[in-house]
């Protein structure tokens, strides 16, 4: 290998890399930075590097109503609230359930979707759950930080009805479901809406529903100036055909 050629190559490579750092564009419209965790179909996921799902389409419509340019920031679900408070994002739309604990950290818009917790099992499983306490006999998987995981922790583990080892926590539902289908878990607890989405992809069935009546809402910083604007826009959207179209696109 030629020395000078090698040197030149290294220089070109480093210059290219440094410039790629500064290649961020500028835009005129005010930007609405929307945080999400795009690993949660049918609410948020990516297809060919494009963000899709109910929340993502809703964000788009919301951006039009507010006359702001929507920019999606994809991150860990656990990171969304810290990112809001660190001013990395303006709002979080990630099928986030309104809870008292979260309310201590962030503010919420009016709810836009309501779900229960579904208990899912492999399609060929013969586990039967007739009442909630039947769950204590099985090992359950959940995405860490979700209401399902918190529900099991609060109602079973904290009350000593269940051993800590019976609840496995995963970064996302995908790992939980995969682990269940691999035979390492009996059941997975998951939002009923997501259970519907996953059913299209994997051999799973919902065997029990815990009526929790949770509400999904948009999370905002507590000092956010956007709350009124977003609530007004959201009310209009929820009444419109656009919203029915979005829902029909992803869940039927």
């Amino acid at each position: 290998m030629n020395k000078s050629l090698l040197k030149l190559g290294i220089i070109i490579l480093s210059v290219f890399l440094v410039f790629s750092l500064f290649s961020c564009g500028k835009n005129e419209k005010e930007v609405l930075r929307v945080g999400t965790n795009a690993e949660y179909p049918p609410f948020e996921f990516t297809e060919n590097n494009e963000f899709k799902g109910i929340d993502m389409d809703l964000a788009k419509v919301l951006g039009e109503k507010l006359n702001m340019e929507v920019k999606i920031h994809d991150m860990d679900f656990d990171s969304l609230i810290p990112a809001l408070n660190a001013k990395k994002i303006d709002i979080a739309m990630a099928a986030m359930t309104v809870t008292e604990d979260r309310k201590e950290q962030v503010d919420f818009s009016i709810p836009y979707y309501s779900v229960d917790q579904a208990i899912i099992a492999p399609e060929d499983s013969n586990i039967e759950i007739n009442e909630e306490d039947d769950l204590t006999e099985y090992t359950i998987g959940a995405q860490n930080g979700t209401t399902g995981q918190i529900y099991i922790d609060k109602n079973f583990i904290d009350k000593d009805k269940m051993n800590k080892k019976q609840l496995n926590k995963y970064p996302t539902n995908i790992e939980a479901i995969t682990d269940m289908l691999n035979g390492n878990l009996d059941l997975v607890i998951i939002d009923s809406s997501a259970a519907k989405g996953y059913k299209k992809m994997k051999p799973i069935k919902t065997i029990y529903t815990i009526k929790t009546g949770e509400n999904y809402a948009i999370a905002l910083r507590q000092d956010s100036q956007l709350k009124e604007k977003i609530n007004t826009a959201l009310k209009e959207i929820l009444k419109s055909d656009q919203w029915t179209d979005i829902l029909n696109r992803y869940i039927k």
């Binding site: 290998m1 020395k3 090698l6 490579l13 480093s14 890399l17 440094v18 790629s20 750092l21 795009a38 690993e39 949660y40 179909p41 996921f45 990516t46 297809e47 060919n48 590097n49 920031h73 994809d74 991150m75 860990d76 990171s79 810290p82 990112a83 660190a86 001013k87 990395k88 996302t172 995908i174 790992e175 479901i177 995969t178 996953y198 992809m201 994997k202």
Partner: protein, 225 residues
């Protein structure tokens, strides 16, 4: 099987895009680590006493923290001090500064391994200290530090997936995005593993070539290090 291969090919552009981000992240972090690391190494060897101590603490602290903790402090912690750094730059800072602590050790070791008699020889033929460093010590030290540097480079490359925690769409994150809709973890993770390994191998080979090209015949470096 064939279906799996087709599936991988279909998603290859996305994965390669992620791989490019991983390489950018690694190279920029290593460059930052090199600049800071060299400075730390030189200050620790030739600086005033309190600076030496300070550099020692710097190395000590950064080597003692898990990389994920460093990344979280920079990305989520600093904003409460009023310093808001974008995700990509946070990742480069975290990976780069951590690497600087290790690189400082590599360079310090390399400089120290060159005997004092060579400095004395340089001074005795009329070179000043700076010239002795530049023409006698540094050229040897660079060669001596290459194996350690190569190792450090591959470590940063293999740590780059942690940037995913800050939402950076590097290779692993792109892989996960595909898994979410396709539900094929094995195929995708295996493909990611192969890409990481090929990247590792490419850079390993590149640095070995550089070592060979700049080798001084008869000098201590061996070809197959």
């Amino acid at each position: 099987m064939i279906e799996s291969i087709l599936f991988v090919f279909e998603n290859m552009p996305l994965l390669l895009k992620g791989a490019l981000v991983a390489v950018e992240l690694t190279v920029l972090s290593i460059l930052l680590g090199m600049v800071v690391g060299l400075l730390v190494a030189i200050l620790r060897l030739y600086g005033p006493k309190y600076v030496k101590k300070l550099m020692k603490i710097y190395e000590w602290v950064l080597r003692g923290l898990p990389i994920l903790v460093i990344l979280f402090i920079i990305y989520f912690g600093f904003p409460s001090l009023g310093v808001n750094i974008p995700a990509f730059i946070s990742a480069v800072l975290g990976l780069g500064l951590r690497s600087s602590a290790y690189q400082a050790q590599i360079y310090r070791g390399a400089i120290q391994s060159i005997g004092v008699e060579q400095v004395e020889a340089g001074l005795s033929i009329g070179m000043n200290r700076a010239k002795t460093m530049l023409y006698v010590i540094v050229p040897q030290a660079i060669r001596l530090s290459l194996p350690g540097f190569t190792n450090e480079f591959t470590i940063v490359l293999k740590d780059s997936p942690l940037a995913y925690a800050l939402g950076i769409a590097e290779l692993l994150k792109q892989g996960r995005n595909i898994i979410v809709t396709s539900f094929r973890p094995f195929t995708i993770y295996l493909t990611c593993a192969i890409i990481y390994f090929l990247l590792f191998h490419f850079f390993y080979y590149l640095f070995r070539k550089i070592a060979e090209v700049y080798e001084v015949p008869g000098y201590i470096m061996s070809k197959k290090s």
